[in-house]
Amino acid sequence: MQPGSNRAEPSSSATNRRTAELFAEHQNGIYRRTDRMFAGLMLFQWVAGIAAALWISPRTWIGTQSRIHFHVFAAVVIGGAITSLPVWLAWKKPGHTITRHVIAIGQMLTSALLIHLTGGRIETHFHVFGSLAFLAIYRDWRVLVSATVVVAVDHFARGVFWPQSVFGVLTTSPWRWVEHAGWVVFEDFFLMISIRQSVKEMHLVSERQARLEAINESIEQQVQARTRELEQTHKQLVETSRQAGMAEVATNVLHNVGNVLNSINVSVGKLSDRLSKSNFGHVGKVAELMRERTADLGDFMTKDAKGRQLPSFLEQLAEQLGKENAFILNELGSLTKNVDHVKDIVAMQQSYSKVSGVTEIVKATELVEDALRMNASALTRHEVQFFREYDENLPDLNVEKHKVLQILVNLIRNAKYACDESGLEEKRLTMRVTNGSDKVRIVLIDNGIGIPAENLTRIFSYGFTTKKDGHGFGLHGGALSAREMGGSLSAQSDGLGKGAAFTLELPYKARNGAEGAIPL
């Protein structure tokens, strides 16, 4: 399957709708921002106009008398009037069509006023062209039309009423205003091209964003579906591992019980053999001989050769029967011991077969001892010597006992296997329990075959095993369980033939609802 082949392709109609939404949103954002910008600009222009009037023409004179110049009133009152509605609309109705058109008209009227206030300076006429460029920020060509109409009407009206005020000469052509407006249209033309391109790009950006959103949504849905599947798989895996761990313990139990049963079988065989060869029958023969000679038992015991040997025979028989009795008692004692051992193992297994999730206060060393006990027979049979190195004053653990035991039983089993594989005569397993900063550390150190560096992390992967009859559940499940309990399981080895150390760290206190993601 190709990656993403099952990805739902967003429908074009939905994408088109979203594109239109995003475009409108983007456009509205530009309108609002530009409205605000012009509101600030127009307020600034108003103040600047007043300042210009006060600077250039503060007073008008009649001989030696003066009064405030008309331009100052014009800057304050007319400038304020021009500024008022655009600013109010930008404040109250930002983004509305009427707002930007009123702003465009107001801006052009401001140009006209400023031109007058500055004495018709040519430089101030640049305000008209600058304002058109600013208005292009709206990316709405209609706004430029409104502004241009104001300029054209202004020139036309002034050309009609005061022709010299616009064109400088009284004898100007009545169509001169068209020429002036034409220069404005000239700028408009290029600004409109720019606006058209900008709007096109905005549309493209919106379309891309809409597609991206649709793809993201699709991916998000897939991720959620995959996450659900992974969670399900994880649960199954945890359950499988737990069951595998239980099976591991059960196998160990059965293995140990089997070993003890062998001993019991041997004892029973010995007893049967001993009983079948017992001299107990001689007692009957002596009794029968004495019954036959009841009449002359005294003569028989004193004069007959057999009779005279009878007491010493009975003494030897009693001695032999005593030995047999001792042997049988000894074997029976062994049998009882072995049967008790079986009972202990079964009882231990039952104590660890409790429901998962229940934590108990336990001592780490007791768990280690239980695990050793369950493997004791196997370790002895495989001639693995085990040593204990326990710190004193170890804190109690609040953990799920059966999980810890599963891990330890599995680690001991692996150590025994590793020792067998090493071929060494002296097989050693050290159980070290130490007190960490906030955890108890249980380290199993063997001098077995060791682990190659490349396998140090792989050994915890699901299904990874180096044993012929292994299934790859043990360490994986152990690591999962350790993680679930807020601890960890790790391995160290200097390589093949150099032994290995497995460290199980368990927190003092139970992890609250701990069942995080297991990155294995």
């Binding site: 030696t64 007319i78 009227l109 004495g119 009423f161 010299q164």
Partner: protein, 193 residues
């Protein structure tokens, strides 16, 4: 919509007032047809003589000085130019020494002087700041009026064009023009600003 209409109406009325003010001319002067004998200034006997009367505080006259500078730049050596700044006797002597005075002084070929109590202005019949009169070498009046298009507005205008034509020896488009500037003299009945 009504609000928009009200706004537009208010603004248009305001702009109309601004334009109307800008195009309201000052009181026209009435210079004598011949150079006044009582004037302390003698006209040039070889060149035309241009006299201009300015109110030193008039903001509109800045444009007039600008136009004069342009005219002088195009008429080097063709005219003797004298600019008179009103200096009322009751005011401090530095009242006339404004930026306008300094700008006028900087124009090559222009002689700037104070017109105490507006004596010369009265002799030449000037009423508003910016009044300009051109006399030929014989002392005959050729032109009088303003050399700006409106109050305080520089740019091509009939007065400037007429003076330039006369100095170049070409036919004059007009004999007189409106003057846009402050009144030189206190006069309640003038009604000008």
């Amino acid at each position: 919509m009504a609000l928009g209409g009200l706004w537009l109406g208010t603004v248009l009325i305001g702009m109309y007032l601004v334009l109307a003010y800008a195009n309201s001319a000052g009181k026209s002067g009435s210079p004598p047809r011949n150079w006044p004998e009582a004037s302390l200034l003698r006209h040039d006997s070889k060149l035309p003589t241009l006299v201009m009367f300015l109110h030193p505080q008039c903001p509109c006259s800045k444009a007039t000085v600008g136009e004069l500078a342009l005219l002088m730049a195009h008429s080097q050596g063709r005219v003797a130019t004298h600019v008179f700044f009103l200096q009322p006797t009751e005011l401090a002597t530095n009242w006339a020494l404004t930026d306008l005075w300094k700008e006028s002084q900087r124009i090559p070929g222009v002689t700037v002087q104070c017109d105490y109590a507006g004596r010369e202005a009265r002799l030449f019949g000037a009423e508003a700041s910016g009044e300009t009169a051109l006399y030929d070498a014989t002392g005959r009046l050729l032109f009088h009026g303003g050399i700006t298009i409106s109050r305080g507005h520089s740019g091509d205008n009939l007065g400037h064009d007429t003076l330039q034509a006369l100095l170049m020896g070409n036919p004059a488009p007009s004999a007189n023009t409106s003057v846009y500037g402050c009144s030189l003299f206190d006069c309640k009945q003038e009604g000008n600003p």
